[in-house]
Symmetry: C2
């Protein structure tokens, strides 16, 4: 339940050497509730405008720095964030999974089971990171 999540969240924050504040706990709760990616505007709506815009920006940036969340590429001006799994470490983040954007419901999901395929680029290109964003219709929208 909620208390179980809260314990988990407190652990997560402490292990990242972050102090446990209402804002951070609330934002992480929202991440865990929604099983997909969220963007800045979502937090303002979902939290009932209880936090300042600036605080949300700074909290998301902090989570990024600590490797708690990662960004997902988009073709518009929004910045989407998803919560990270175990393989992410501070300042050294690589996603090894595919992101899926549903055209029906608009949700963005991490498909942890689907590995990023190996690519063979032309000679002379060093690959550091590969992002794959698939769009289409998701399981729930069929």
């Amino acid at each position: 339940m909620a208390s179980k999540n809260k314990e988990l969240i407190v652990e997560l924050l402490k292990s990242s050497k972050l102090s446990v504040t209402d804002t951070r706990v609330k934002i992480l709760e929202l991440f865990l509730k929604s099983n997909g990616a969220l963007e800045h505007a979502d937090f303002e709506k979902l939290s009932g405008k209880s936090f300042d815009r600036v605080t949300i920006y700074r909290t998301l940036q902090t989570f990024l720095d600590k490797g708690i969340v990662h960004k997902i590429p988009t073709t518009d001006t929004s910045v989407r964030y998803a919560i990270c799994r175990s393989e992410c470490r501070e300042h050294e983040h690589h996603d090894h999974h595919v992101h899926f954007r549903c055209e029906e419901c608009g949700s963005t999901q991490c498909l942890e089971e689907t590995d990023i395929p190996v690519l063979s680029l032309p000679k002379g290109y060093d690959v550091h990171n590969v992002e794959v964003v698939v769009s289409g219709v998701c399981k729930a929208c069929h």
Copy 2:
């Protein structure tokens, strides 16, 4: 030379049923000059601020609608555009190539030779489009 490019550009505009205006020609010239993706701010700088911001926004949107350019996903708030190749048609755009973002020079390139690999998603997902953005160090920056 420049005149050759200009002919090409005029042809491109006419075949898309767009009237040939200074702004459109200039923006397409900038696309052809830079062999990578460009974003809104680039056009303001590169054109020497000779065009209104609004005009640039509208021109890029028009090119998108006509399938002359396509968007490339990014993890920040910028929207990056690249010029399309033959396979793009109006209102029915799919990229079949990989995009590369160089961490050194900041340029974004379309790797036309590198095909998007086939992905096997979990059951229940309909795939309409796949975007692949690779980051690393490009050929020129070695």
